[in-house]
Symmetry: C2
């Protein structure tokens, strides 16, 4: 992996890298924040998955997460939201909710998406293997994300609880088999086989398999996407059904933006740090 940019931040290092991804079959950029403690030895990492239209830069520049990550000694690993570059398929109409910036953290099986869109494998396997080989990371992992990225974080954790110690999300797409964003993305990337969709639906996965990991979810009550797209009540019902350890907080007045994320990111970092032991 090649260094693109490095900037000092809260005594640590905010770094952008480029590499050739095998999973995605294209060149990718991602960002990492290494806290000051990483100068002395390996530190645990929080993987952050961003939402529709984002790159690795939105969370890096807008969430204000580095302050608390530096205090706790926690690295942040922030991938892009889709494959990128020449030859990577995009929505023919250029819609924001399919194609570039909208990988949905799935392994696509349908053409033309299946040539590059394998964000599930990328985030689960390739990226951790890369950064843990190259950077002072201990291999202890937590995962979080926003909206589409909250969906991604929950799906990855529910399907691979041995890889993470805790999972959290801001305004996740909690039941994508039952909302317009999910219908559009899952039918394009996976075809019409609903059994394949269910492997990427947090509420269905939780209901079917339970979850041993602690889960923290924040949801703004003034979020424009709440009723139609996000559906935290499906997640809550699934958690109650299986007795999972879900803390769902409805935050009055907050919307879907990074102002909402910034307001509560400290709580999420402290939550993960407790479980990571840092």
């Amino acid at each position: 992996m090649q260094l693109v940019q490095e900037q000092k931040c809260f005594g640590g290092r905010q770094i952008r890298y480029q590499h050739e991804s095998q999973s995605l079959n294209c060149s990718m950029q991602f960002s990492v924040f290494l806290p000051p403690q990483a100068e002395q030895g390996a530190v645990p990492a929080l993987y952050w998955l961003s939402g529709l239209t984002c790159t690795d830069e939105n969370f890096s520049s807008k969430a204000g997460a580095q302050r608390m990550a530096a205090e706790l000694g926690l690295a942040l690993v922030i991938p892009d939201t889709s494959p990128r570059g020449e030859g990577v398929a995009d929505d023919p109409q250029g819609a924001y909710d399919l194609g570039l910036g909208a990988g949905f953290y799935v392994n696509a099986t349908e053409a033309p998406w299946n040539k590059h869109y394998r964000m599930y494998d990328y985030v689960l396997n390739e990226l951790p293997a890369l950064v843990e080989a190259e950077l002072p990371l201990s291999g202890k992992r937590a995962i979080s994300g926003h909206s589409m990225g909250g969906h991604g974080a929950l799906v990855l954790a529910l399907r691979n609880p041995e890889r993470f110690v805790s999972v959290s999300a801001f305004a996740p797409i909690s039941n994508p088999t039952d909302c317009p964003w999910g219908h559009k993305a899952l039918s394009a990337y996976l075809g019409e086989d609903r059994a394949a969709w269910a492997e990427y639906d947090t509420s269905l996965l939780l209901k079917a398999k339970g979850c041993a990991l602690p889960m923290l979810v924040d949801q703004g009550e003034a979020d424009n996407f709440l009723a139609e797209q996000l559906k935290p009540q499906a997640l809550k019902a699934a958690a109650e059904h299986v007795g999972a350890e879900l803390t769902l907080r409805l935050q009055p007045g907050y919307d879907h933006s990074y102002y909402f994320i910034a307001s509560f990111i400290e709580d999420h970092l402290r939550f993960h740090a407790r479980h990571l032991g840092c």
Copy 2:
């Protein structure tokens, strides 16, 4: 003034307004953060002046200032960096350091700039009068800014110490009569009369008039613009010459970006809050 957008943030309100500016002879947008304490009564305000190419959104979304402002009970008032809109002159070559996004906080006297470019009057008089009439602000003011905005904050405070209780800056253009950014802007906006330039040069103003206000300046030592454009040593020499209360901190490894600002904004807000009595 008309509300453009309002978003809850750290228990307070991040708001964007639009109004017709008399000073600038055009329609302007600006942002305000009102801390939760503003629901109970009037609060003091920190005016933040941004740097070249910025609007009111950069500081609002990237500095992470709302967290501490909410804790301290301090409002943030964040103007744009130049007049805007149809008919507002811009650099013929579209350069980033003259015209739109580069008002330099001066009252231009030269055509074509003098029709709109009166950011000095706008920030000193029109904007405070407007927001203090319309919002729960106590009229106690501090001022800060970054780069071109650090220059603006220092110039406004040095020339009008009765208006502010304290001033701070990140990587200010400290001696614009002696750097390329300053030469270009001041000669365009003010013509070739060097006496007019001196009214907008922090180091010359400080040396000539002294300063009764406490001043805090942070400067990254890895800032690409440090030697050619920013020249904090001129400010330091002027402060020593007149015995002014300047704290100049050189921060090893930090660059000119918002990661630098975010890392130290808490110190600046606490500094101003001490002097504002909040």
